[in-house]
C-alpha cells in the first residue's frame, strides 16, 4: 500500500464523466468516500439495494463499483451476478473483515482490487484511476477474443502456509512466526496455523526492501520508468516492477500469474509468434525486439519498445525471459511531428515556387516571351516577386519560431517610434503584394507614438499580421491599421474584410501549426503563433476577433444581433487582431 501511495499520479481529464457506485452498509464510511470522490470530480452514487445496483449496471451507468464485503453481508455472492451483466466492470472490494475466508471467496470471483478498512484515501484515488484505465482498455477489446485472465484460479494458489512463506521470503520459520505474532507481516491465524497471501508477502517484501537499505537493487527495480518483468515459458509474469504493472493496466493485486504484456493485450495487438519478442527470445536464446502500438485512456496512441532478454540456464536453455517495456511515445511523436513539418515545409516551398518558375521560365523563353505584352510581363514579375516575398517570410517564420521555442529569441528593447520605425517600413515591404491584390491599407497613428521594444521583432510581428490580412482578405478591399494610445500602453489593431475567423476557432488561432482549410491560401501555420511569442516577450498580449460588417460597421459576432446564431449570408465578414504593448518606460 505504501508502494501505491508513493507512486506518481495519473492525470485523468475524463474524471468528470466516470460514474462510481458505492455499496456499503456503513453509511458514514460511504459518505466520506463519496464526498472525497466528488471533490475529485467523479460522479458518485451510494446504492444500498442490490436491485438498484443491478439496474444501474444494466443501464451501463456504472464505471467502477466499490463494494463492502464481510462474512455477514456475503457481498461476494453478488459478484457472479454482476459479472453476468457487465463482465468487465472493475469491482473494488473494501472490507473490514480480515478473515481468510472472505479474502479467498472474493479473490475467486476475479475482482479488480481488495482493500482493507480503514481506507487510505490516496489509495482509493489511485485504484480508481487504474480501474478506469483498465475498464477503458478492456472495454474496447473485441469480446470474442477477450479471454481476459482473471484471478479466478489464483485466489487459492496465492494462499500459502508458513513453510512456503518462509521459503518464499527466504527467512527462517521462527523469524516468520515472530513477525506474524508481532503483526509486522500480513498474516491470518486459522486453527493455530499461520497463513499468508502470496501477493501480500510480495508487497511486504517490496516495502521492506524500500525500508531496508541493504536491498537497494529492489528499490531501483521498482522505481524504474521502464516496465520490467520476468516471464516464464507459459508467458506468465513471474515478477515485475510497478511500471510494468501499470502498462498491463492491472492494479498490483493480481499481477504475478497474469499474462505478459503482449498476450494481455493480444486482442488489440495481435502478437503472432513471429513478432512476439518473448517467444522469440525463448526459441532463439537471443535478445529480441518489438514495437507495440497501444492506446491510452484518452485514445491517444502510445508506442512501446519491447526488448526480451533470455535468462540462460547452465544447460543452455532459457527458464525465463526478462521483458523490458519502454514508453517511446514522446520520441515517436517528436519524430513524426518533425517529419510532418518537413513534408509541410517542402510542400509549401514547392507550391510557392511553382508560379515563380513558370513565370520566369516563360519570360526567359524567347519564343514565348515575344508573345507576352508589357502589361502581362509586369503582372508576371509582380506575381513572382510576391511569391518570393512569401517564401522569404515563411523561412524567417520557421527560424523565429525555432528560436522562440528554445528560448533563443533575443529581444533588445529600446524606445522607438511606432510609425517611423515599425509600421511604415513594414507596409512598404508589402506594397508589391498589396498592388497585386488591388488592396490598400489605411493607418491611423500618431507620429509621436512611441513604444519600448525590439524593432526587428516588432516588424516581424506586424508584418505577419499584415500578411495574414492580405492573404485572408477580399481582393480590392481595404485593410485598416489603427494604433490607439491608452493609459496602460499602446493598442495596435489590424482588421480586414474577408473570410474572417469562425467563432469557435478564435481561441486557437495563435497555436502552432494551426491552419484552417482555406481554398487558395497557403501558409506556414506559424505566423500568428510568432506574433503571440513576440508580443509576450514584450510583456504584452494579443487577441483575435471576428464578426460581420453591418452597414459599414465592424460588429463582433458576440455583439451581432442574435449573437452567434446570427449567420446571415449577405453580411461580409471581418477578422481583427489586437496587439497590446505595455507603456513605454524610458
Amino acid at each position: 500500500m505504501a508502494r501505491i501511495a508513493q507512486s506518481r499520479t495519473i492525470n485523468n481529464p475524463s474524471v468528470g464523466k466516470a460514474c462510481i457506485a458505492i455499496m456499503d452498509q456503513d453509511r458514514s464510511n460511504a459518505r466520506v468516500v463519496s464526498q472525497y470522490l466528488s471533490i475529485l470530480g467523479y460522479q458518485v452514487e451510494h446504492i444500498q439495494d442490490s436491485h438498484i445496483l443491478f439496474e444501474r449496471i444494466q443501464a451501463g451507468s456504472v464505471d467502477v463499483l466499490i463494494m463492502d464485503v464481510n462474512k455477514h453481508n456475503r457481498g461476494f455472492e453478488l459478484i457472479p451476478a454482476i459479472k453476468d451483466i457487465d463482465r468487465l466492470l472493475p469491482i473494488i472490494i473494501i472490507s473490514g473483515d480480515d478473515s481468510i475466508e472472505v479474502a479467498v471467496r472474493v479473490r475467486e470471483q476475479g475482482i479488480f482490487y481488495f482493500m482493507m478498512k480503514p481506507l487510505d484515501i490516496e489509495e482509493i484515488r489511485l485504484v480508481i484511476e487504474n480501474a478506469l484505465e483498465h475498464r477503458h482498455t478492456q472495454g474496447s477489446k473485441n469480446l470474442d477474443h477477450a479471454r481476459v485472465p482473471t484471478a479466478t484460479t489464483m485466489g487459492t494458489e496465492e494462499l500459502v502456509d508458513a513453510r512456503q512463506a518462509s521459503a518464499f521470503l527466504k527467512i527462517s520459520a521462527r523469524r516468520l512466526q515472530q513477525l506474524s505474532r508481532q503483526g509486522r507481516i500480513p498474516a491470518v491465524k486459522i486453527s493455530r496455523q499461520w497463513y499468508y497471501v502470496k501477493k501480500q508477502l510480495e508487497q511486504w517484501l517490496r516495502i521492506t526492501a524500500i525500508a531496508d537499505q541493504r536491498n537497494l537493487r529492489a528499490v531501483a527495480f521498482d522505481v524504474l520508468d521502464d516496465g520490467i518483468a520476468v516471464i516464464n515459458r507459459k508467458l506468465r509474469i513471474q515478477t515485475c516492477n510497478y511500471a510494468y504493472e501499470r502498462l498491463t493496466a492491472c492494479a498490483g493485486d493480481h499481477i504475478p500469474g497474469q499474462y505478459c504484456y503482449s498476450v494481455n493485450r493480444k486482442s488489440r495487438i495481435p502478437c503472432p509468434e513471429s513478432t512476439c519478442p518473448v517467444r522469440q527470445a525463448f526459441n532463439t536464446l537471443k535478445t529480441a525486439r518489438s514495437l507495440y502500438v497501444d492506446h491510452d485512456t484518452h485514445g491517444h496512441k502510445r508506442y512501446y519498445d519491447a526488448i526480451a532478454l533470455p535468462v540462460k540456464r547452465s544447460n543452455g536453455t532459457a527458464a525465463y525471459v526478462v521483458e523490458v517495456l519502454r514508453d517511446s511515445t514522446a520520441l515517436y511523436d517528436t519524430t513524426r511531428h518533425l517529419n510532418w513539418i518537413m513534408n509541410f515545409f517542402v510542400h509549401e516551398c514547392k507550391g510557392t515556387l511553382g508560379p515563380v518558375m513558370l513565370n520566369i521560365s516563360a519570360l526567359a523563353d524567347s519564343q514565348l516571351a515575344s508573345k507576352i505584352g508589357p502589361e502581362t510581363r509586369h503582372s508576371m514579375l509582380l506575381s513572382s516577386l510576391c511569391s518570393i516575398k512569401f517564401l522569404h517570410d515563411m523561412i524567417r517564420n520557421y527560424i523565429v519560431s525555432y528560436n522562440a521555442e528554445y528560448g533563443y529569441l533575443k529581444c533588445t528593447r529600446r524606445v522607438i517610434s511606432l510609425k517611423k520605425d515599425i509600421i511604415e517600413p513594414c507596409l512598404s515591404e508589402f506594397q508589391a503584394v498589396l498592388n497585386k491584390r488591388r488592396m490598400s491599407i489605411t493607418t491611423t497613428i500618431d507620429d509621436a507614438c512611441r513604444v519600448c521594444g525590439d524593432p526587428d521583432l516588432l516588424k516581424i510581428a506586424i508584418g505577419n499580421l499584415v500578411n495574414n490580412a492580405i492573404k485572408y482578405g477580399t481582393e480590392g478591399s481595404t485593410i485598416t491599421c489603427q494604433v490607439k494610445k491608452n493609459h496602460d500602453g499602446v493598442e495596435i489593431q489590424i482588421s480586414n474584410e474577408g473570410i474572417g475567423i469562425e467563432p469557435d476557432a478564435l481561441s486557437s488561432v495563435f497555436e502552432r501549426f494551426i491552419r484552417f482549410d482555406k481554398v487558395g491560401v497557403s501558409g506556414t501555420g506559424l505566423g500568428l503563433h510568432i506574433v503571440k511569442k513576440i508580443v509576450e516577450q514584450h510583456g504584452g498580449s494579443v487577441q483575435a476577433g471576428a464578426g460581420y460588417i453591418i452597414d459599414g460597421e465592424y460588429v463582433l459576432y458576440r455583439d451581432a444581433p442574435g449573437g452567434r446564431s446570427h449567420k446571415k449570408q449577405e453580411y461580409k465578414k471581418f477578422a481583427v487582431i489586437t496587439m497590446k504593448l505595455p507603456r513605454c518606460v524610458p
Binding site: 513534408n343 510542400h347 507550391g351 515556387l353 511553382g354 508560379p355 513558370l358 521560365s361 511569391s387 481554398v519
Partner: protein, 130 residues
C-alpha cells in the same frame, strides 16, 4: 502546333493558375481555370476540355484524387487525359492510398512534380495533341 485545344487547369493557387494560363494561352491553347474540385465539376457541364491539369491538395489533402476518380468513373469524362501537377512528392512518405481510402489511387495519365518550368510543361502537354 495544334491550335484551339481546350485545357482545364484545377488548382487552389490563383498565382499558379495565372502563370499556367499565360504559358498555355501564348502557346495557342484555350484555357479554363478552376480554384477547386467543386468548381471544376460545375465548369465541366459547360466546358469540354481535351486535357485536365489538376492539383492534389485543394479543399482537402486529397480532393485532387477524389476529383480524378470521379472524372474517370463518369462516362462523359473518362476519356479526358489527366495530368496531375502537384508539390506533393511521391518520394516522401505521404500515404496517398490511405488518405483517399482507395488502394488504386492513381487514375491519371501522368504525374508532374511542382515546380516545373514553362518549356517542360508545354512539352508534356503538347505530347497529348501530337
Amino acid at each position: 502546333m495544334t491550335v484551339h485545344k481546350n485545357i482545364m487547369v484545377v488548382d487552389d493557387d490563383a498565382d499558379l493558375l495565372a502563370a499556367v494560363r499565360i504559358v498555355l494561352e501564348k502557346s495557342g491553347y484555350k484555357v479554363e481555370t478552376c480554384l477547386s474540385a467543386k468548381e471544376c465539376l460545375a465548369a465541366l457541364k459547360i466546358f469540354q476540355p481535351d486535357l485536365i491539369i489538376c492539383d492534389v491538395m485543394m479543399e482537402t489533402d486529397h480532393s485532387g484524387f477524389d476529383l480524378c476518380r470521379e472524372l474517370k468513373r463518369s462516362p462523359d469524362t473518362k476519356d479526358i487525359p489527366i495530368i496531375m501537377l502537384t508539390a506533393v512528392d511521391q518520394k516522401y512518405p505521404m500515404n496517398f492510398a490511405g488518405a483517399s481510402g482507395d488502394a488504386s489511387w492513381l487514375p491519371i495519365e501522368e504525374f508532374i512534380d511542382k515546380p516545373i518550368d514553362a518549356g517542360l510543361l508545354l512539352e508534356r502537354v503538347n505530347k497529348y495533341f501530337a
